[in-house]
Symmetry: C2
Subunit: 239 residues, 2 copies
């Protein structure tokens, strides 16, 4: 058994990686996929990712929890913004959360033509890798990036996932972006916060006073829950 693992650095080039049989892990470390995992840790029943702000507005006053941001700023008609610290148990337990972000939710929707789409973060990385290993299919890590650009923090998580899968002996790669993600992860992992300090998104968040989530978003294995996407909805799976 030898399956391929590839990494796509930007939703803008997803079509060049697309194959219907792929298992796709969407990563958006700062902050969408960390927030989605946190919502399920705190008992959310389901989460509906919405790409479009206008579409999100259609869910106002329907009894759901609304969360969303554009360019780091909380939308004015939602319950709260994009920080994982907002998705607290008292807000989301047993609720349906409708959620839209600049980059992450679009990437999740984009991948929906593939075999399986799951949400990855450092918070659930081992569970994600164990499940992918159990599926015996090729894997694509889809980085949400930032407005189509390469994002270092997503690349580090992609590299960490690739390293774990290659270590199983069941996966290998000939994909330059996967090889480079592994190299960048191995270079960074002994002092991760020093590397995170270099990330453009870390500076964007700091400018807006939103960088309190950094350590949390890079903490591995807080949960076993894997958010799985199907029919437009994310639901929690424990593996």
């Amino acid at each position: 058994m030898n399956h391929q693992i590839e990494v796509c650095f930007s939703p803008a080039v997803f079509e060049d990686f697309f194959r219907p049989e792929l298992n796709v892990v969407v990563v958006d470390v700062l902050r969408a996929t960390s927030s989605i995992c946190t919502a399920f840790i705190n008992g959310a029943e389901k989460l509906i990712p919405i790409g479009n702000v206008e579409e999100l507005k259609g869910f106002v006053n329907m009894g759901h929890v609304l969360a969303g941001e554009r360019n780091g700023y909380t939308l004015d008609f939602v319950d709260f913004g994009n920080s994982p610290f907002n998705f607290t148990r008292d807000k989301v337990e047993n609720k349906t959360v409708i959620y839209s972000t600049t980059n992450g939710t679009r990437a999740i929707q984009m991948a929906s033509r593939c075999r399986n789409v799951i949400v990855g973060s450092f918070l659930n990385i081992s569970s994600v890798c164990n499940w992918l290993d159990s599926q015996e299919e090729d894997v694509l890590v889809l980085c949400a990036g930032w407005k189509n650009r390469f994002s270092l923090e997503d690349t580090l998580l992609a590299g960490a996932i690739c390293e774990k899968l290659v270590e199983t002996g069941h996966f290998s790669t000939i994909c330059d972006s996967a090889i480079s993600a592994i190299d960048l992860w191995q270079l960074a992992k002994s002092d991760l916060m020093k590397t995170v300090e270099k990330c453009a998104q870390r500076h964007r968040l700091k400018q807006k006073g939103l960088d309190d989530v950094l350590e949390y978003c890079f903490t591995p294995d807080i949960t076993d829950i894997i958010p799985v996407y199907g029919n437009g909805v994310l639901k929690p799976m424990i593996f």
Copy 2:
């Protein structure tokens, strides 16, 4: 004086980096930009990059030298393919070369709305960096990649260019792709051929028996010539 340097990993996301005032260096190490530099080393008068195979066909029997490939295979109506070793003095001296490749020529044309567009390779790297430093403008390294995908060999050259420009003290970067390109270059440079061995394009070339150019394409500073793009034509500039 502090100018920004950024790296764009794929022509597919060029629009997200575009600013008219940029100086753009296009890199396609294996093999287009190495071949273009070689054409001028061997005395070509000018070189016209053509994105489209049909358009290239229109130049047949017009007295020019035609060169081109698609997916590594030489087109059947041209004088020769995409190896820099084809652009010999007896073929190109004082000639106009019409040239089309899978990725490289498209990237050059795409960048033409920017202030200046030059062609970079390891062969002319110091001259390229000295010229960029003299221009006192922000710089974008545009990697031609492979069919919109990230390419490790182009990234290594981008990292080497960024490292040199940052070392001048006149450039800095907050661009995640530039930061990562520098990291990957610094990781690779002490044993460059070992890293090149990992590149997907190196495997593609090997399968087609076209990998004899590897050492040549990674040899720094064979020439001072910088190919400059303007009005659809590349001409040699010595700096």
